[in-house]
Amino acid sequence: MRWNVDVRAFRYWAERRDKSPTPKLMSLDEAVKKFLRNGAVVALGGCLYSRTPMAAVHEIIRQGFRELTIVRNLAGFETDLLLVSGCLKRLVTSWCSPGYAWGMSRILRHYVENALAEFEEWSHLGIGLRLKAAAMGVPFLPTFSMLGSSIMEKLGIAEMTCPYSGEKLALVPALYPDVAIIHASRADTYGNIQIDGYTHMDKDMAQAARHVIATVEEVVDSDEIRRSAERTVIPFFCVDAVVEQPFGAYPSECWGRYEADFSHIASYQKRVDEKGIEGAKSYVSENIMGVSSFMEFLSKVGIEQLLDRVRAFRNVVT
């Protein structure tokens, strides 16, 4: 069975985690080195251009991981970069495109159409239910989505007849990522994580994964978390590493802080339009491999541009 789900093994891992509230602050370099492996299943939080953990994506590329399975609900720019850097073997997603303004991804097309990378397509809720099943600790969840479609047929998803209603349902198998990487608004050093605005699928993703790396705009005192406990989305015992990285989602947005920088994406896209894969690779060389850290990349982007995005967020909201 292709979708073998070993709940016992994943539960075993969760049971054996160190659940004491120990400080987990580390550098991104250290966190990625510690928890990633070649061939790992890595889930990326946020959605398309919202809270993409871009700083961590840069670091994965810089450290040169290979044969990764990347899980993301809606994939975009970051997937192009992982593809041309040779990190990505299989993409588990519902959709991949640089976004509305640019249509199809030339990069994705090249890799998938030439069988250099695999595109495993689920419906959007399908990805959500895979993570939610794992987060809930059950091996599957039922849905009416995907019934009758080629998605269901190609994936070989099981169906069943409900004993209570007689209805047919698709059973979506749990997905337990080896590592989930999310970018959030704030956390304390123990890894109690708060997300302002829409949470997308990050809560389930963190609960589902074996290890969680959280990059956050701001590390705050635990007392601040305790004063606003209703905003906490992921509890410390699910989290392995907390990395403070302001603008860590750039050029995607982080709710409450800054708007996405579509001009940055457009300039990347222009390289691709002009030179295809080589264009994308030149972006990676200059902005990721050619710098020593995400902070250096942000310096290249420039404080003016970053603050402009901060202002833009405020302009939209008010």
Binding site: Y49, S50, W95, G99, E121, F144, S145, G148, I151
Partner: protein, 258 residues
């Protein structure tokens, strides 16, 4: 350009016709691009009380003209929303029956309203790898009424889609229900030439109306299969000046009205 004297583009035509489909007081699952424009337009015309829902996790935002979002999960899409649920929750509202309309595009659509946005050619080694389902499959599977909004082109309207990303009536007749899809199904197909529905019995696509000045042959010439042509085909008024004026004011920089 299909008509020499017309004072609007194909995108504008398609958006206006889609907007007219939306009933007031309903909840609408909307993607970016023309569907969003159509919903925003309808809100400013006959349907002030429709509710826009974005799959990124947004309920009832107020889209600001000239400040259009490029995705369904960004601050511009969430402006003044009443709620920011998780993505799964949006789909659960839909599966539960709280979302009335969904608007989908199509790279390919066949005579039973099945939609392909995944691959052209073979799945394993595709000729064109398209972006994929996103929420489209979920909308097609569990939304109450699906409106397909797409340009009327032969390469899009095919006898049989290469891949069913988003199920319509599958092989027609009762096959959708038999597959377990007990809700919804395609409601209308709106193009830049005509409005189509589906035959109650066979579930095959059926031309219901053409836009004023469009001949039925034009509709058929731009399709890869023959839809049902009933004895009476309504004629639809072209976009009014008011519709166009408001639409253009929503997207003054023509970010989406390309």
């Amino acid at each position: 350009m299909l008509l020499h004297e017309r004072n609007y583009t194909r995108s504008e035509l398609l958006t206006v016709m889609t907007a007219r489909m939306l009933e007031d007081g309903k909840t609408i699952f909307v993607g970016v691009g023309l569907p969003m424009l159509a919903a925003a337009l309808a809100q400013r015309l006959h349907a002030p009380s429709i509710t826009i829902i974005f799959e990124g996790g947004v309920i009832a935002p107020e889209i600001k003209p000239g400040m259009l979002p490029l995705s369904t999960n960004e601050v511009r899409a969430a402006r003044k929303a009443v709620m920011l649920p998780s993505i799964d929750d949006v789909f659960f509202y839909q599966q539960r029956g709280y979302i009335d309309y969904g608007i989908l595009g199509a790279a390919q659509i066949d005579k039973y309203g099945n939609i392909n946005t995944s691959v052209i050619g073979d799945y394993e080694k595709p000729r064109v790898r398209l972006p994929g389902s996103g929420g489209a499959n979920d909308i097609a599977s569990t939304c109450s009424r699906v409106i397909v909004s797409t340009f009327h082109e032969k390469r899009r309207f095919v006898e049989r889609v290469d891949f069913i990303t988003s199920p319509g009536y599958l092989s027609g007749g009762n096959t959708r229900r038999e597959a377990g899809l007990i809700f919804g199904g395609p409601y209308k197909v709106v193009t830049d030439l005509a409005i189509m529905g589906f035959d109650e019995e066979s579930k095959a696509m059926k031309v219901e109306a053409v836009y004023r000045g469009v001949r039925i042959e034009e509709v058929l010439d731009n399709m890869g299969f023959k839809p049902i042509i009933p004895d009476e085909v309504r004629e639809v008024e072209p976009p009014t000046d008011e519709e166009l004026k408001i639409l253009r004011s929503i997207d003054p920089d023509r970010v989406m009205l390309r």
